[in-house]
Assembly symmetry: C2
Homo-oligomer: 282 residues x 2
């Protein structure tokens, strides 16, 4: 058996790995001002969106990413009212954020409106909160948005971006973290998707260093499985000035919404890091 | 870019997924009495062994599997002296088991001697304990070995097998677990690799049911990342009559050997299960 035209492969020659899903058909493809977006129907993972031929989201495993990128930070913050998502155009993170009753406004700043419009069409369940009155969908450059945002106006910043190359490169550096630090309230929390522990350890190290250099007192990385991203193993990294080891356990235990992956044990457990990561961050 | 002859792909059409490693060259291939064994040199994952074109072991990520399949069970058992490994022909689990000073004898029962001979040649570091006087390498059918073993003679049984099809099928059922139960001492522990939570949830459910039916009082599944196995997310399941939630924390903290993944926090954390798994096992 060969990986013929019935398979879509994300190939990462720089790491020597590739992952493939079997597809029934390509449903859509377009070149936007920023990138190539493709939509496939797969045999076992539901719909698939790729950007520049990299896996972005599938029906089957996106719960791992969206739950972990939102609930960890939102249950760590004492009272998250104003949340901004940088990137996140598929709207899955927005939906999870808006499940929190404390949230008064969630602003999504996606650079490419077509990501969201295609998600609305092909991933309607991810977009089911787009018309929530608390949702604020902007199509703009996240770096510029952050530079223009008022001091101490946001409780949680979620950087839900593509890999740190191309449009997302400027979201992984000291200058951007300094802006985030300025825009966050004193007990504010920044959380960022920070790639694979197996493949991107130097990036993870540099993120910790840059977040500390931006005068966040504390940084903490958590890990979770993610089948369709390179190596199947992914991380998020939080930065803040409060104690990031504590979270609102009771609120998380009594949460009013269902999750497939996240729970209080998973929250705690996701911060247990392997020796090789502990050594890299020490 | 295509996945041409410079890539080796494990293709699982029944799950609609494939994973590929970029290779420099194929170093060896042979058909044994039981299976086809191939050895590749990869660009980024060191040496790779496949059996019937399925990933078995790579230099780069085998630590995840071997550490988790041995140290969880051995630090849970109060005093593991006699250990048997069913399968495990690459000898990586044997090496980890023999790092425990309590272990007096570790018997590896691999059906296909060629797996071990090729591992000695191509994965010498995995085999560095093969000449330990406590190591007992047998090349035999694990099911038959267990049927012939005396009652209550073993402390820890590690089922380090291929997928539950072909030669390994008989290692995932009630009849075999009954034999394991008979062969284990009263505080004995069985641990088995139990595939992917995302792809093999029905198998995991049936393993729990069969282990309980074999009169193990307690069963517990732990999870870990494993880049080169389908979905990148893997599990082990323990069965025993003692309290599997406790382990020798102090011994694990003061262990006399290095690990890359395993530590006491990881031990504890690996048993935190996502909601969808908790629901499947309840």
């Amino acid at each position: 058996m060969n990986l013929d035209k019935n398979w879509f492969s994300e190939i990462n020659p720089q790491f020597g790995v590739a992952f493939s899903l079997q597809i029934k058909e390509k449903l859509h493809e377009e070149q936007t001002q920023y990138q190539k977006i493709s939509i496939y129907d797969t045999t076992d993972f539901g719909k698939l969106m790729t950007i520049d031929d990299l896996f972005m989201v599938t029906d089957r495993d996106n719960f791992l990413y969206h739950e972990m990128m939102s609930h960890i930070a939102l249950f760590t913050h004492p009272n998250p009212r104003h949340v901004v998502i940088i990137g996140g155009g598929d709207c899955g993170t927005l939906r999870e954020v808006l499940r929190h009753p404390t949230v008064e406004q969630a602003t999504q700043v996606e650079i490419d409106e077509r990501v969201t419009r295609l998600s609305e069409h092909y991933f309607p369940s991810l977009c089911e909160s787009n018309h929530d009155p608390r949702a604020n969908l902007l199509f703009d450059d996240g770096i510029q948005w952050m530079a223009d945002a008022p001091d101490q106006s946001i409780d949680v910043i979620i950087i839900d971006s593509t890999d740190p190359v191309g449009p997302a490169e400027g979201l992984f550096n000291l200058a951007f973290y300094r802006q985030c630090r300025r825009v966050l309230r004193e007990d504010g929390i920044l959380v960022q998707q920070t790639e694979s522990p197996l493949l991107h350890l130097p990036l993870l190290q540099s993120v910790h260093q840059a977040m500390r250099a931006a005068e966040f007192k504390n940084t903490r990385t958590f890990q979770f499985p993610l089948c369709t991203y390179p190596s199947g193993w992914w991380t998020g990294t939080m930065a803040g000035n409060g104690d990031l080891t504590q979270f609102r356990v009771e609120a998380a235990q009594n949460k009013t919404f269902a999750t497939q992956y996240y729970n209080t044990e998973i929250h705690q457990a996701s911060f247990a890091l392997p020796n090789f990561m502990q050594q890299a961050f020490s």
